[in-house]
């Protein structure tokens, strides 16, 4: 009886352990690839940062170690949060942007797909995650961006700054995925 009890405990722990360590299929195989595509689209849709917006430029708002602080959390959860925030951000008015519309639409399409598939991955699709470090920083950061955009009345230059920020964000996100997800 005791042996059986121990055995069942061990099995349960083992199963949970494997479930926790192994990310879902999307995260393992598609997340990185679609993230790369997003970064490329962001770079290609507008070219270099325009000179006329240089005076409005601010310090980078994105904290470099944002994703490093999410060690304990599930990759898929962090990914889902990040992708959702980006999607929401781009729901703002895009009328003043001068970017290539095809590439912009494609970018939004890809982010949408990331969100859809990650939602299937994350059990329950919890919006507020249990962790504190990573998600709070993410939330704060994206709130800052949203406020910034609204202040500048969604001007072209404000969007250029946002584009630069999001690109840096996704590059750090790529490093985060590469470190956490082993193919």
């Amino acid at each position: 009886m005791a042996v059986l009890k121990w055995l069942s405990i061990c099995l349960t722990l083992f199963c949970q352990g494997t479930a926790a360590s192994k990310p879902c299929r999307w995260t393992q195989f598609r997340l990185g690839k679609l993230n790369d595509v997003s970064i490329n689209l962001l770079s290609e849709m507008g070219g270099l940062f325009p000179l006329m917006c240089a005076e409005e430029n601010v310090e980078q708002m994105f904290p470099e170690d944002l994703y490093k602080n999410t060690e304990g959390e599930d990759v898929s959860v962090v990914a889902l949060e990040a992708m959702r925030y980006v999607e929401q951000l781009y729901n703002n008015s895009l009328t003043s942007v001068t970017w290539n519309k095809t590439k912009l639409n494609m970018f939004q399409n890809v982010i949408y797909r990331q969100v859809q598939n990650l939602e299937l991955c994350v059990v329950g699709g919890v919006w507020e995650s249990s962790g504190d470090g990573g998600s709070v920083t993410l939330k704060t950061y994206f709130n800052k961006l949203n406020t910034f955009l609204k202040e500048k009345e969604h001007s072209a230059c404000a969007w250029e700054i946002v584009r630069k920020e999001i690109r840096e964000n996704l590059v750090q996100f790529k490093k985060f995925i590469d470190s956490r997800v082993k193919p």
């Binding site: 399409n109 890809v110 949408y112």
Partner: protein, 405 residues
Amino acid sequence: MKVGFALVLLWSLPITNVLAELPQPQNLTLLTLNTQYVLTWDWDQTTTGNSVTFTVEYMAKYKMKMKMKNWSRVCERTTRTLCDLTGSDLHYLGMYVLRVRASADGVNSHWVNKDFCPDIDASLGPPSRVELAPVGNLLDVTISDPLTSTQHSMKEHVLFLYYRILYWSRSDDPQGLKPKVLDSSNNLVTLPELEAWTWYCVMIQSRYDYYNKTSSYTEPQCMQTEGDTPYGQIFLYFLVSMMVCFLLVLLPSYTFFRFYRVLKNTFYPSIQLPAHIQEYLCDSSPGSDMPRLLTADSEAELCCDKLTICPEVVLLEIHVPPSLTAPPSELEQDSGRHIRQDSGDSGIYSTEGGSAQQGRSGGEPIRRDQEVDSWQTLEQVKMEEMGRESADERDLDEGVVDVCV
């Protein structure tokens, strides 16, 4: 009255129903291959007859949540029950919503929607080309990727595309029922562990694991492996090359060395002519007395004047001074010659006194009336003269009558 009204209403309802609403297209399906997408649907022709047209539109799925939806129209009022979306720039990784409706006589049906994501739904084509090449006793398979509608490789869109290669020996397994399997994402694959000089057949399929996409197999292609060259062939090549070498190299060399002496003596003889003979043969200066048929400059140097010889006038008396009696014109012609002749004749005096009476004391026994071979005629004349008179003074240089200066 009321009943009648009700009846009219009842009658009209079905009619208005039919007029107001057109049935929707059914069973939207997508026929796809790589990046070629064709949307088809079913339509019941019997209900409304012929003049029905269809309109197809698409939009990115993320825009569905927005208030402002802008659908892109692809096929407008087409009479066929299909629409080609290949040229619409649908991105392979994007998620789209397609919709169709029918129109007839100004009445439109409701839209029928369908989700479409090429990454998930578009089927994969087989490799565009397969080439086999024998490499020793193995086979090299060169695989060309399936192509998009713009002739680019599908690996641009499907990153983890790989190939499944089935191969079997034609002699062991003619139908290909138990093939060996090899998976590879490379475009050049070498099939391992094959037997030499055997026919093998190959079939290839493209695969994409994440969405479980597999293409159809290519047509079986067969090729024979090669192997080590058989000993008989090696020996034959050796013999042939040996014969060629013999013919081209050894035979001429042997001939050369054998007849070296003969050749040497022909072209470079060791025995030379004595020097004076050689000189004689080779001497070509004009002063030499080597007889020759034709000298080089004989024509140029030969300068003959006309010499007239009159054989009939022969004087016995020969006087030394020619200037007294000789006709001046003739004398002056050949002064050089004159001198010589006269000097030759100077030693000869006629002993007959009587001949002096003849008066012809011309120093010129010989008159030049004719153009003759002067040398010979002169010689003859002199000899006659000499014979008649004393031969004491005969140190005439008779042989030399230099008529040619």
